[in-house]
Subunit: 290 residues, 2 copies
């Protein structure tokens, strides 16, 4: 048994680990991917994976890519290292709000706390309010928590609406991010052998995620992709990563539309097995729309 | 004419813009890629591109990918938007040092300032020194500058050796980063038509960088890669980016070994032109080793 934020005992079978403070965007994703589960905040991505691998939590939610910043490579590396299964995906639109303790007025704000990435994504706001000082903090939701704990009356935070709600703060201005095409894709992870779905459900589009490595030779990637392209399987994402300790050799992560129990997918993976030095299915899950 | 840090007038013809404070890792890259040029620090990546596009600086140096964090997607987007040419690349090993004002002893340090990414890359140091408080700051080199300006005696910064040298600070401990396989790849950029090299020099390996988009159809990427693979051209990097405003359509950035004046490269680019919706050569430059 774990202890929740309020000290109550919570059932490990229904816990989902995520990185950050309560109110982080990962928690927003967790509330969609595992709505009946208790969110358990941990400090670092590695601990998120570790907590599922050692059975302290039943599931985990991690960010994998953002439309402005690209892939979260640390998490791709953890997917390789920990033998967990991707069980679901969701896209969360990143909406940054200006948040302050109740009663604090917009005109009182001289300082705004948030994670540097969030501060950078609200540049137009700071250009329009040059007297407001941008103050880097370790976490978006954590900056709301801090404001409330210290009861600051001259400061605001930039964070999710969920963070405002959790800590009892007030949204002074909604959606102050520069670019509205700011989405983060999250994965739901579980231990192997604890898959919830069996076969594909009718009418649902599935994605399969695979990692593989090839020797660095001309046309290596082209050959690997032939396993999918010659079978009309549609790739939705490709990511290359330098192989640690082997400069110039690459790992490839691909996602394609298909269920691992489809005969075509089975043939494609068999073909990939012939060509690749190493390969592994990271998961098969219902494809989400933005 | 521009004014340098010390107020002296500097010749625009020999200036190179980079993002960050003096002493940033981008300046380390600039000192290799444009050693005779005066480095001009600017606040944001967009301003770096802007300053070359509007002729305020002759060249720019930008980070494009890091072995731990992956691609700097913002800069891939700027490469597309601004019509500059990549003229060179270099790999800089990211070495984080513990830096303090002269005379400050290691035992006096209670607080360490740096960019959150740098603080995260030195986790082992903070685990071994639990009494030291990690304090996020907007910039690595900027944290050294601040320590020196305020003459703090209980604090240190994490930054490059160049930052210590520029601001007259002292390195208390070298190379405190967790992972030594931490490299950043940088590009040297110039305006089109201001290319320094003409044809390929003998004995030098060249890279060509291309961006292209394909309609989202099964096998689209496979077909595009055939233009290179069927000619035995070796891809060194592939990056996919969602096309802004067109969810599910992708832009691809590829680097391959070859000079744009080689007949094989010309044929490959002609073939790509047949297949792609849009394509552009971003540059052709001598390939660097790590």
């Amino acid at each position: 048994m774990l202890k929740g934020e309020c000290g109550e005992r919570i059932d490990v079978k229904f816990t989902v680990a995520f990185q950050g403070e309560l109110g982080a965007f990962s928690q927003v994703a967790a509330s969609r991917l595992a709505p009946d589960y208790t969110p358990v905040p941990v400090a670092a991505f590695e601990q998120v994976f570790e907590s599922v691998a050692n059975g302290k939590c039943a599931a985990a939610v991690i960010p994998i890519e953002n439309t402005l910043h690209g892939s979260v490579h640390e998490n791709y590396d953890h997917l390789l290292r920990y033998d967990l299964q991707i069980q679901g995906e969701t896209f969360v639109r990143i909406v940054h709000n200006l948040i302050a303790p109740p009663g604090v007025k917009r005109s009182q704000i001289h300082r705004v706390y948030s994670h540097p990435v969030a501060l950078n994504q609200c540049r137009h706001f700071f250009e329009a309010n040059p007297s407001v000082e941008r103050t880097p903090f370790y976490d978006t939701a954590g900056s709301v928590k801090m404001l409330m704990e210290k009861d600051l009356t001259d400061s605001a935070a930039i964070a999710s609406a969920t963070a405002a709600q959790i800590y009892g703060a007030k949204i002074l201005q909604k959606s102050i991010e520069d670019d509205r095409e700011n989405y983060t894709r999250f994965f739901l992870l579980r231990s192997k052998g604890k898959e919830t779905s069996s076969g594909p459900a009718a009418g649902i589009r599935y994605k399969t995620s695979v990692v593989f490595s090839m020797r660095n030779m001309p046309g290596a990637l082209f050959r690997a992709l032939s396993a999918f392209a010659l079978r009309d399987l549609n790739l939705t994402k490709i990511e290359s990563r330098p192989l640690r300790g082997k400069p110039w050799d690459y790992l490839f992560y691909i996602d394609f539309i298909g269920h691992t129990s489809d005969p075509v997918t089975k043939h494609a993976l068999g073909h990939l097995a012939e060509l690749a030095d190493m390969w592994r299915v990271l998961g098969c899950y219902p494809a989400a729309g933005k």
